[in-house]
Amino acid sequence: MGMEKVFTPIDIGTMTLKHRVVMAPTIHEMCYGGHPTEAYLAITDTYARSGVSMVCVGGATIDPGPTGDVFPNALSIASDECIFGLQRLAEVIKAQEAKACQQVYHPGRAAARYWAQSNPEMLPWGASANVPFMAAPKWEITKKDGKWHAVNVMPPAPVREISTAEIEQLVRMHVLAVLRARKAGFDAVNIHFANVTLVMDFISPYTNVRTDGYGGGWENRMRLPCEIIQATRAAVGKEYPLIVRIAADQGLGEAGIQLQDTLRYVVPRLEEAGVDAIDLSAGVLDHTPHKIIPPMYDARGCYLNHSEAVKKVTKLPVIVAGRLCDPRMIAKAVENGRCDVAALSRPLMADPLMPKKMIAGKPDDVRMCVACGYCMSEAGWTKYCAINAESARETSLPKVEPAENPRKVLVVGGGPGGMEAARVLRERGHDVTLCEKEAQLGGTLRIAAAAPLTREWRTFTRWHMQQIEKLEVKVRLGTEVTKELVEELAPDAVVIATGSVPSRDVPGADQPIVVLEEEVLLKGAVIGKKVVVIGGAFWDVETAINLADQGKEVTLVREAESISMDRLSPIRALPILFGMLQSKHVKPLFSTKVVAIEKNGVRVADNAGNASFLEADAVVLSTGRIPNRKLLDELRGVVADLHGIGDCVKPRCVADAVYGGRLVGARI
């Protein structure tokens, strides 16, 4: 790769990391009663085998009571009983010769997420009471007047300003947690003062309006974090490595912590208090989660500007996370001194072998995280990855092992599902032919990859194509598979991954002004200026924004009350809702139904039945997709070993297609 500094060691206090690529602390849940499950040990083992120089186990809560209870499946370090389970985690990591680091934190306001509704007397702890916690929605499904309704019954959860006695308790809880981590065998501790921690709420002017010595001005707001570090140092001595994680910028503008504050007040005081390294995050969970976990709209390595600035004000090693998915970028950033250590969370879910591939000088072999947010969506919340079906499924997926009986397999359809099936089948030694009816591979994902907002998808298609070529899968482009062709090829097994086609189920869809997404986003069809996008698909708003970027005046019509938070995930939905819709001049019409598409526009009606007419030069359909099942249906009874995967079974998203491909690839 040419850039060697990333592979040189670095000292974090008395601990030497063998190189500059580490796992960032990642919360996976997957713990019952606060203790790690076998599945959690398995996923930790995956990261330990990745080649990183340090694995950081995600946040363990330090508070044994309800005020420390952030969700049912969270890891705990709040009592000595926790040490046994944590010791197993540390062992799993150190067995692979990686350093083991445990992150510890107090969830503060976030303790409201699950239990506060039933426990009104015990309010979650806050620096002040001025900012309630905006928990994830909780849906109550009821039937009213014969119709089903889903209502979000999760109101903002009130929090309580803690007393000075409770502050002392908080300091003590941190110290005890660090001592437990050391006893469990961890080489270092990451003390969490970012993302969703009570201590960050003390640091931030947004959440701290106290009038005692712990609030009002930077000196006072930094008092608690510094006391915690000092108390921890007093207990654990100078030698034990302490890393502190902070939000370089909360993304709240002047109201919150900004980079200039971090440079001037936060980092220097923490350095003085005695930490061994600064680990940079950003954002605040219940307001700007898209700053904590930047989506594909943001640049790769988007927080390197933070670490570069912080390195100018401290002698301590600076660790940073944030879309560090690009091996060449990581190497260059370390070479140029923009950071000392690169911390990877999602990139390791996308490719747990990324560090090993970097060390082997094979950056193109890395399956780069595209920051699609699936791991943060409703569907992906246990850290499933859209492009790596094995993530968080270590104990529930058949392994990719050589086929006992190598056979001849035909895969129909070269989209993400088909390519994944072909890749896995071929890796196992089967004789694989992949047929694709278009002139190039990629399937429906090509539409997303062609659109500026979602360009990063193309790196996944590119990786798939490279792997298929390397494995010598027989690829036949421009080949539409028919029943006759199947009979002619006579494969032992067939995988159908023929995907889906756009739905046109809207009255007036045959009007001449109607245009499909793929025509305008992929095939460059020229359309007039006034565009109405008829939505329904979870990506409809992105289509609207892409068209607005082309200079169109776009109106998005959507029956739902808002954009799809569940599938897009908050990290894509929020930047759209908070800024893009306005700044890109897309006019959203939510809770609006299409009555009919007409010659010069679209007739619509709102929930009250009030009709109106939207003039349009073009109407782009983004209502969803319907399965392309013709071949699958024709071959039933004709081919004995027949499998259908992805959209042709049921249109969903890339993650389902890739999972289907990975599963069928290991089964045949």
Binding site: A299, R300, G301, C302, L304, N305, D326, R328, M329, A331, K332, A333, N336, R338, P452, R455, T459
Partner: protein, 62 residues
């Protein structure tokens, strides 16, 4: 959709110790031509780091 430098805005990082985009590009896709940065669209991987580091915001993705 490679990165493209606007020649009217780019000043070749005049007065600075180096050209930030060239210095930071992981794909070595940018060169100086007549004192201004130019992106080689065959090498550009659209990582957007040049857009992030340009002090005068002269670069966009095409």
């Amino acid at each position: 959709m490679p990165a493209v430098v606007n020649k009217d805005i780019c000043n070749g990082c005049a007065g600075l110790e180096r050209q930030e985009c060239i210095y930071n590009c992981p794909y070595e896709a940018i060169v100086l031509v007549d004192g201004k940065a130019v992106v080689d669209k065959d090498k550009c991987d659209e990582c957007k780091i040049c857009i992030e580091v340009c002090p005068v915001m002269a670069i966009v993705l095409e």
